[in-house]
């Protein structure tokens, strides 16, 4: 939880409207954990006023860099995409509760929809460091947006792609692909790979995560998902980014995505 001025090392467009931003921010690169986010001031003017929450995509600790991957979705991210090497940005972070890092022998599935790969990539980077090979279900609208597939394979993970338009991999949604995969695993094997000791991680659009949590909850496997919410302060004060969460007593509570999240256990999220 630091407020620092980061220096832009470089920014690159991955495909139109999608950027990787490399920030020199030693203390944040040191402290960051997968699933956490940065709250970034995209402009020094009064409009747009609020900071933008962007999940941490990777860290390069040797270069003291924290790396973001984001899609231009509005005025804030449009301004952010104009930053060049040497520019300075006011950064608050690392913020929020990240993903839990699985034990070395855990069977892990990672389910990503579109830009949802942004925080999951960091998780995959860290898991590779501790020798875990995950099954990565990488979903996108079209082949060109199957981001970082090769890099993820180079980490040692298995990538199983899907596209909505059928231009690469499975033709359909990533949740349909994942569900078929789990069903086959259960039917064809006396010793399913995914069991109650497995962990499923997910990030992506609202509808995809809702479907994913249904699949996770039905399967009895544990899962964690990262939610995206409209955010104000980023530090827990304004209570804008709350999500409906089922507490241990079965009651419904609003929990702050910025402090108690953005990663929540799949079973505790209540979808409207």
């Amino acid at each position: 939880m630091l407020l620092v001025e980061a220096i832009v090392s470089k920014q690159e467009q991955i495909v139109p409207g999608h950027y990787r931003l490399y920030l020199f921010a030693p203390k944040i690169a040191e402290a960051a954990k997968p699933g956490q986010f940065l709250h970034i001031r995209c402009s020094n003017a009064l409009d747009p006023l609020l900071r933008r929450p962007i999940s941490i995509h990777a860290v390069d600790r040797a270069k003291s860099e924290v790396i973001l991957f984001y899609r231009v979705a509005g005025r804030g991210t449009a301004l952010l995409s104009k930053n060049k090497a040497g520019d300075r940005l006011s950064i608050l972070g690392p913020l929020g509760q990240g993903f839990s890092i699985p034990g070395a022998r855990t069977k892990v599935a990672v389910v990503s929809g579109g830009i949802g790969i942004a925080p999951l990539y960091f998780l995959l980077q860290e898991m590779a460091g501790s020798g875990i090979c995950a099954d990565v279900f990488l979903g996108a609208v079209t082949a060109k947006q199957l981001f970082f597939s090769e890099e993820i394979m180079n980490f040692g993970h298995r990538v199983i792609p899907s596209t909505d338009d059928g231009s690469a991999g499975y033709h359909g949604t990533v949740t349909a692909l994942f569900e078929e995969h789990i069903q086959k695993d259960n039917e064809q094997s006396n010793l399913p790979m995914y069991n109650k000791d497995s962990l499923i991680y997910g990030c992506g659009p609202h509808g995809m995560l809702k479907r994913l949590t249904e699949i996770i909850n039905k399967s009895g496997i544990s899962g964690e998902i990262s939610l995206e919410e409209r955010m104000g302060c980023g530090v827990g004060a304004c209570l804008s980014c709350v999500c409906k969460i089922r507490d241990k007593e079965g009651g419904v509570q609003y929990r702050r995505a910025c402090v108690e999240g953005p990663v929540f256990a799949a079973g505790e999220v209540i979808w409207d």
């Binding site: 302060c233 827990g236 004060a237 304004c238 804008s240 709350v242």
Partner: protein
């Protein structure tokens, strides 16, 4: 936060920043606007809370409140609309869980209270008066985001006075009444509240507003309407402080879109004894301390020995 350059050159001649707001002694005129600073711990990683003149905490109700449906926030030109709906843990848990953290600091704690009925306000005042570590109460009769109470109390001068009176009867703590700008005549409300015994006024609460999502073709906020804050409302807030200062002899905590020391100084020149930083905290977690430093620099540069000389000064130059 260290001493500013001016102080280091001239340590024996530092301007006096201390103010007294209706009996609440503040080491400088800067506090936090209710609902923008949580209960304190949220911002403790970014600044030393001891540097603040006071803290005004998130609005407290009798029972815990879950708040309004989401989305609760919309960004608008140079501002934000919010409809949080007074989500809070209730007065019992506030006293048991939030207050002990703040008591550790050398910092007057002002508790914002909100009720559905006049009796709720009286009960909250009594309950908080018996708690350790409360320096004053800010009576919220101006929240635009709750169905019952809130702004209803603040938009009618007679009911505003009734709530003020009930709170005053129930406490010996200084009572600040937070006024709504969503009225035809804010001076009329201020006058009635003053007569009912208020020790100070906070102004302004948020302006009732609306934003529409043209893709979804429906209001952005889950609760349809919300309260507008941020730089967009500053001229409205300044005007309110200006008008009320002329007619009502109570100290005013001015707020509404203060982002910088320059903004704060405008409020003080218009008639505010103290100021509250609100939405700016979301943009810059160190906004409060930067405002304090800037005010101190301004006083030194203008050779003003005491901040009180500045209050309402622009009224003499019109």
């Amino acid at each position: 936060m260290g001493l500013s350059a001016t102080d280091q050159k001239n340590p024996g001649n530092m301007p006096n920043l201390a103010v007294n707001v209706g009996g609440i002694r503040m080491k400088n005129p800067v506090t936090t606007a209710s609902g923008t600073f949580g209960f304190g711990p949220e911002y403790a990683p970014y600044l030393d809370l001891n540097h603040l003149g006071a803290i005004i905490v998130k609005g407290i109700t009798l029972s815990p409140r879950t708040g309004n449906p989401t989305p609760r926030l919309a960004e608008t030109p140079a501002g934000i609309l919010n409809s949080i709906g007074l989500q809070n843990p209730g007065v019992e848990r506030f006293i048991a869980e939030a207050l002990p953290f703040l008591v550790k600091y050398d910092l007057p704690v002002i508790v914002n209270i909100a009720g559905d009925t006049v009796n709720d306000y009286a009960y909250l005042a009594e309950k908080l008066s018996r708690a350790t570590g409360v320096a004053g109460l800010e009576v919220n009769i101006s929240c635009p985001n709750v169905k019952k109470g809130g702004m209803q109390f603040g938009s009618d001068p007679a009911t505003a006075a009734e709530v003020t009176h009930a709170v005053k009867e129930s406490t010996d703590l200084p009572v600040i009444v937070k006024l709504s700008p969503n009225v035809t005549n804010i001076v009329a409300v201020a006058e009635k509240v003053a007569k009912a015994g208020a020790d100070a006024l906070s102004m302004i609460n948020t302006l009732l507003g609306l934003a529409i999502d043209i893709k979804k073709k429906r209001p952005v906020l889950g609760n349809i309407m919300g309260g507008l804050s941020g730089p967009a409302v500053k001229p409205v807030a300044l005007r309110a402080v200006w008008q009320v200062y002329q007619e009502v002899k109570l100290p005013i905590i001015g707020m509404g879109g203060i982002m910088t020391a320059e903004d704060a100084i405008e409020f003080i020149l218009a008639g505010a004894t103290a100021v509250a930083v609100g939405t700016a905290n979301f943009v810059n977690p160190r906004a409060t301390v930067e405002v304090i430093d800037g005010i101190e620099r301004y006083l030194a540069e203008n050779k003003i020995k005491d901040i009180s000389e500045l209050t309402g000064l622009a009224q003499k130059h019109k």
